[in-house]
């Protein structure tokens, strides 16, 4: 993962947080469905210590989709229902910034 400059991070953060903003408010919460998934063993630089992790293409129902990680579970299947949550994504080196973004967890 390349190092992000502060202006680039600021521009990106809005979209990275948008989905997870309503987490915990049951009235207007967003849910999604897993369209496909994989478990990444050969992780890119910056993600090695997280591997293996689950990546999924999540369909959000309004025609929108997103590729993101599915956390807090060992197994997923196509069709599983998920909800967004705000999580740490990676740390930008020893003295860099901590990046946050939207991941998903399975609704039981």
């Amino acid at each position: 993962m390349h190092r992000k400059s502060s202006p680039l991070m600021k521009r990106d953060n809005e979209r990275n947080y948008e989905l997870a903003r309503n987490t915990g408010h049951s009235n207007n919460s967003i849910t999604g469905t897993i369209e496909s998934f994989t478990r990444v063993y050969s992780a890119p630089l910056g993600f090695e210590n997280q591997a293996p992790y689950i990546l999924a293409l999540v369909s959000l129902g309004n025609g929108k989709k997103i590729t993101s990680q599915v956390v807090d579970c060992k197994e997923v299947r196509i069709g599983d229902k998920v909800e967004p949550c705000l999580r740490k994504v990676y740390v930008d080196g020893k003295d860099g910034l901590i990046h946050y973004g939207t991941k998903f967890r399975v609704i039981k």
Binding site: P44, K65, Q69
Partner: protein, 370 residues
């Protein structure tokens, strides 16, 4: 369109530790010129294709090396990821058709092994979307893994079914002395290798390697006038794009850019899939090779593997990316060299090649005739 190809040469692909980028360009360029009976002075322009040199060695664009090593001063570098080579061929053909040039050298090269394997893998990830996919820890292989799972689930295919294209490529590559991996694979060997991104295994993935390939295009007038030995013809080519993130696509199992690029190439050449006897598909991983065949119009969705089983020699006769190795910038031109050589040898009329950047964000299709 009908552009004569009068010279072709490919270095062997593999871990070429004693050769640098300049050496590869020189070897491919000089030998292509030799095969055409030309000298550097005759060439009006050179189109180079390279994807990652700026990240690997820091030397970019590589076209400046063409002056140092070959003495050709008019040079351009095309950098469109995995599709670079095929696009350079199309652009060179356009230059000839415009009347600007008579002889154009097209040369693709990549020097992947100057980085450690994990560093090279990191560089190669630049071909997918950065904001959504790279940010969250996705890789080219993970995105293709999701496409693979969807493809297997939609068309009720097993993991072992998907392996057929890899096994076929390796079988064909056994007789290609330029291929990096000349050994047979079977389902058990593939299954016993480590996971890269489930369900994709290490032995499913083609390797990033070193190599350079070159062809020389020339105008029909110049070919006739100087009675050149024509090796083959470029009959049609197409380039098309689609959104890079999988989330912005209607279907996971169809790569629109390949279908659009193929339609353009078929239209320009005036021939159809049923005339074609030789296919170089983009088998970076099994599913990309299968979808590439389907979207070029050789089989219906879900029937790609059946098509390969019926025509094992027609698909990736060279060994494909899997057995030849994937010298990213060179691959599109390597496919052209292989097709031209094999059309003549096996008296086949037409051949087609496809390469795509990342998971299909850019796709290029070229059609060749004997």
């Amino acid at each position: 369109m009908k552009i004569p190809i009068i010279g072709a040469y490919s270095t062997g692909f593999g871990d070429l530790w004693d050769k640098g980028m300049g050496d590869l360009l020189e070897e491919a360029g000089i030998n292509a010129l030799k095969s055409a009976g030309l000298t550097a002075k005759d060439v009006d322009a050179v189109y180079t294709a390279n994807a990652f040199s700026s990240k690997i060695s820091g030397h970019a664009p590589i076209c400046s090396l063409c002056f140092e090593r070959l003495g050709i001063s008019s040079s351009v570098c095309i950098s469109s990821g995995d599709a670079s080579g095929a696009i350079a061929i199309k652009e060179a053909a356009n230059l000839i058709m415009s009347g600007e040039a008579k002889y154009v050298l097209v040369i693709g090269a990549e020097k992947s092994t100057d980085l450690k394997t994990n560093e090279m893998l990191a560089v190669a990830q630049d071909t997918i979307d950065d904001k959504e996919e790279l940010f969250i820890g996705a890789t080219v292989q993970s995105q293709f893994a999701m496409i693979t799972r969807k493809y297997m689930s939609d068309f009720r295919l097993s993991r072992d079914d998907m392996s057929f294209i890899t096994i076929n490529s390796h079988k064909n590559g056994m007789t290609n002395k330029f291929a990096q991996f000349r050994f047979e694979l079977d389902v058990n060997k593939i299954n016993s290798s480590a996971f890269i991104a489930d369900p994709i295994k290490a032995l499913d993935c083609s390797m990033y390697c070193d190599g350079a390939s070159a062809i020389i295009l020339c105008s029909s007038g110049a070919a006739e006038k100087s009675k050149r030995n024509v090796l083959g013809y470029l009959l049609g080519s197409g380039i098309a794009s689609m959104p890079s993130p999988l989330s912005k696509r209607k279907s996971l199992t169809r790569i629109d850019s390949t279908a659009d690029a193929a339609a353009e190439a078929y239209k320009k050449s005036g021939i159809s899939p049923k005339d074609i006897g030789l296919i170089e598909s983009y088998d970076l991983v099994p599913v990309s090779g299968i979808i590439s065949i389907e979207d070029m119009g050789f089989a219906e969705k879900g029937k790609g593997i059946e098509f390969i089983k019926k025509h094992p020699q027609a698909v990736n006769q060279s060994g494909g990316l899997k057995s030849c190795g994937h010298a990213v910038g060179a691959t599109g031109i390597r496919q052209a060299v292989d097709i031209i050589k094999r059309l003549k040898k096996n008296s086949i009329k037409y051949g087609i090649s496809n390469t795509m950047n990342g998971t299909g964000s850019i796709s290029a299709v070229n059609i060749f005739g004997a």
